[in-house]
């Protein structure tokens, strides 16, 4: 315990020099944790929003359905199996029928997806209850992005053309009952939601669906014939890799901060060893071995990391807690990220993140502190006393 005691005594006695290094390192601590928290928060938020609005607790796909192939939609419909009907009746699932269609807003031609959903469903966060309000018209629900790109607003009437199960064209006017805001582009862009039963009737696909979305936390049943269950892991796969890619970009900043902090520690150590070479000679003359001197100087550097963690905790915890609780507004440009981000981003700081970052910074600080001290191993006590470094 002698070396840690001496090291602590040395760095505490060094006064302002120590505290400046510690403060600089603590800034890096807080900034690294803050940045990681932002990405973790982003990850959580994106997944939560996507699950709530689109994926639920998993989806049953009609066997022909392939979300990446619009042509597959032609055949991607089948009667809802009894066990899924039972789940739907109990509020544990929401069937969705998806058809390709064409709209003609202001006389322009535009391909869209026409999605039928039960207005009373409570599985997804899409505000489908708006589809209950209009009696004598076909109500349509669109997202704000769709509204903007198609030039539609609440109350507008737009002609929608589709083909029924036999391939026969049909067209109706759909009245926009509501424009909703969502963070999930996949339930917004280029699509109109209408009541499920109406779409089933128009397309002569009574009691049929393309997908059946399970409510979150509802356990899936055995795959009915002609249907395949896709769990959250599968559905979120692409999203997670996209978020991961964005996180990797963010890691550049993380590494830069870590690098700068470590450069400061390295510099402090090199300077310290240069300035204190006579002290090293004295320590050796008093009976310290070279190994003990190396341990002492490495420990001093490493203790900067520990003190920085403590200082960072003092101002960092309230600061990060405030950021996590209040969140911060995101610029409109973040809508182009390709995934669901809210208007506010709430960073998420888990104990694992804080402990992991603290451990990482302390380990890296120790390594960086050790590197310059290796020079001491070649130091002759007599040279050190004369103020020379070999």
């Amino acid at each position: 315990m002698l070396i840690p005691k001496l090291a602590l005594r040395n760095i505490l006695s060094a006064g302002l020099r120590t505290w400046l290094s510690v403060l600089a390192l603590s800034f890096s601590f807080v900034a690294i944790i803050f940045l990681q928290g932002v990405y973790d928060g982003l990850n959580d938020q994106v997944e939560r929003a996507t699950v709530e609005a689109q994926y639920g607790g998993g989806q049953y796909w009609q066997k022909a359905y392939d979300p990446y192939d619009p042509l597959s939609l032609e055949d991607a419909h089948a009667p809802i199996p009894p066990q899924l009907q039972e789940l739907t009746a109990g509020g544990g699932a929401a069937p969705i029928l998806i058809r390709t269609a064409t709209i003609y807003p202001q006389g322009r031609f535009r391909s869209i997806l026409l999605k039928g959903i039960d207005p009373d469903q409570k599985v997804l966060s899409v505000p489908s209850t708006a589809l209950r309000s209009l009696e004598n018209v076909i109500p349509g629900l669109i997202g704000s992005r769709m509204a903007k790109s198609a030039g539609l607003k609440k109350g507008d009437v737009v002609t929608v053309q589709w083909r029924d199960v036999h391939g026969t064209f049909d067209a109706r006017d759909v009245t926009i009952a509501e424009v909703f805001r969502t963070n999930v582009q996949d339930v917004d862009n280029d699509q109109i939601w209408i009541p499920l039963e109406r779409l089933q009737a128009f397309t002569r696909m009574e009691n049929q669906a393309t997908i059946v979305v399970l409510k979150k936390d509802v356990l899936p049943v055995t795959d009915p014939p002609g249907w395949e269950f896709k769990d959250s892991g599968f559905l979120l796969r692409d999203l997670r890799s996209l978020v991961k890619m964005k996180s990797v970009q963010g890691s550049v900043m993380y590494l830069l901060l870590l690098f700068l902090a470590m450069l400061a520690i390295f510099d402090t150590q090199v300077l310290s060893i240069w300035r204190r070479r006579k002290e090293m000679g004295t320590l050796m003359a008093l009976g310290m071995t070279r190994t003990q001197v190396i341990e002492l100087f490495t420990m001093e550097g490493a203790l900067h990391g520990v003190l920085a963690a403590l200082v960072a905790a003092i101002y960092g915890i309230p600061l990060l807690a405030y950021a996590a609780g209040r969140g911060f507004d995101l610029p409109i440009a973040t809508d182009n990220f390709g995934f669901a981000i809210g208007e506010k981003l709430f960073p998420a700081y888990s104990p694992a993140l804080v402990a992991g970052t603290t451990l990482l910074v302390c380990i890296v600080t120790t390594i960086v502190s050790y590197l310059p001290t290796r020079k001491i191993a070649d130091l002759k006590p007599a040279d050190a006393l004369r103020g020379r470094l070999s």
């Binding site: 006579k278 004295t282 050796m284 008093l286 009976g287 006590p381 007599a382």
Partner: protein, 236 residues
């Protein structure tokens, strides 16, 4: 008499390489120092005094020849063994005091005992005794920056003697002190030599120090030019 010899060198050479040329700092030094001596290596700058002191203190090794200190061959000691020798048996006093600036007087004096792993109460007693010896018991909590040159050197003496070493090596101990402080320091060390029978070896060219020596070994160009016993000190 033979048993009381603490230091013995034989044909000791020390050569420093200066790029293309070599500098012979010590040239075939053969000498012995007995327990309780108050001896000095004297001579002009560059005569090899400090080099010889460093080798005896196991801070450096000879290029050839042998140096035996307390029965140990300096040239064949490992780093750890030479550190152990310095820690337990040799005290050092430097020209520039070399006190550890962030420690108090007490902590500076205590340091060699900490390295020995000595228990706290014994440390406290020895540090207290050492500070009493040098008359600085009342400055135990001061930092080196708060001390005068004379006080700093007295702390260095306390640090050197606190572990009760067989040998104290002092390299130009009065070079940074005024005359009054120099005499005070030398009297303190002479008294310690008398009372504790500690062997003191000086490297100096200061007449004030030379006046206290009981044996004077004059070095010139790395060679022993004269080795004389002084019959009577002229202290004071």
């Amino acid at each position: 008499m033979e048993n009381s010899v603490l230091i013995r060198t034989h044909d000791l050479d020390k050569i420093y390489s200066l790029g293309l040329t070599d500098l012979k700092a010590l040239d075939r030094i053969t000498l012995s120092v007995a327990r309780g001596e108050f001896v000095g290596f004297v001579g002009p700058s560059g005569s090899g005094k400090t080099t010889l002191l460093n080798i005896i203190g196991s801070l450096d090794v000879p290029t050839s020849g042998s140096a035996e200190v307390l029965g140990r061959r300096i040239e064949s000691l490992s780093h750890k063994e030479s550190a152990g020798l310095r820690n337990r048996h040799i005290g050092f006093i430097f020209q520039t005091f070399n006190l550890l600036p962030v420690y108090t007087v007490y902590e500076n004096v205590e340091f060699p005992l900490l390295l020995q792993g000595m228990e706290s109460s014994r440390r406290k007693q020895l540090v207290g005794d050492a500070l009493e010896w040098v008359g600085l018991a009342d400055r135990a909590d001061s930092r080196p920056a708060q001390l005068s040159g004379g006080q700093s050197q007295r702390v260095a003496i306390a640090r050197a003697i606190v572990k009760q070493p067989e040998i104290v090596l002092a390299d130009e101990p009065t070079a940074n002190l005024d005359a009054a402080n120099s005499h005070h320091i030398m009297k303190t060390m002479a008294q310690l030599n008398e009372d504790l029978k500690t062997t003191f070896i000086f490297a100096t060219h200061d007449e004030k120090v030379i006046g206290y020596l009981k044996r004077k070994i004059t070095l010139v160009d790395g060679k022993i030019a004269k080795d004389e016993t002084v019959e009577k000190t002229t202290a004071g």
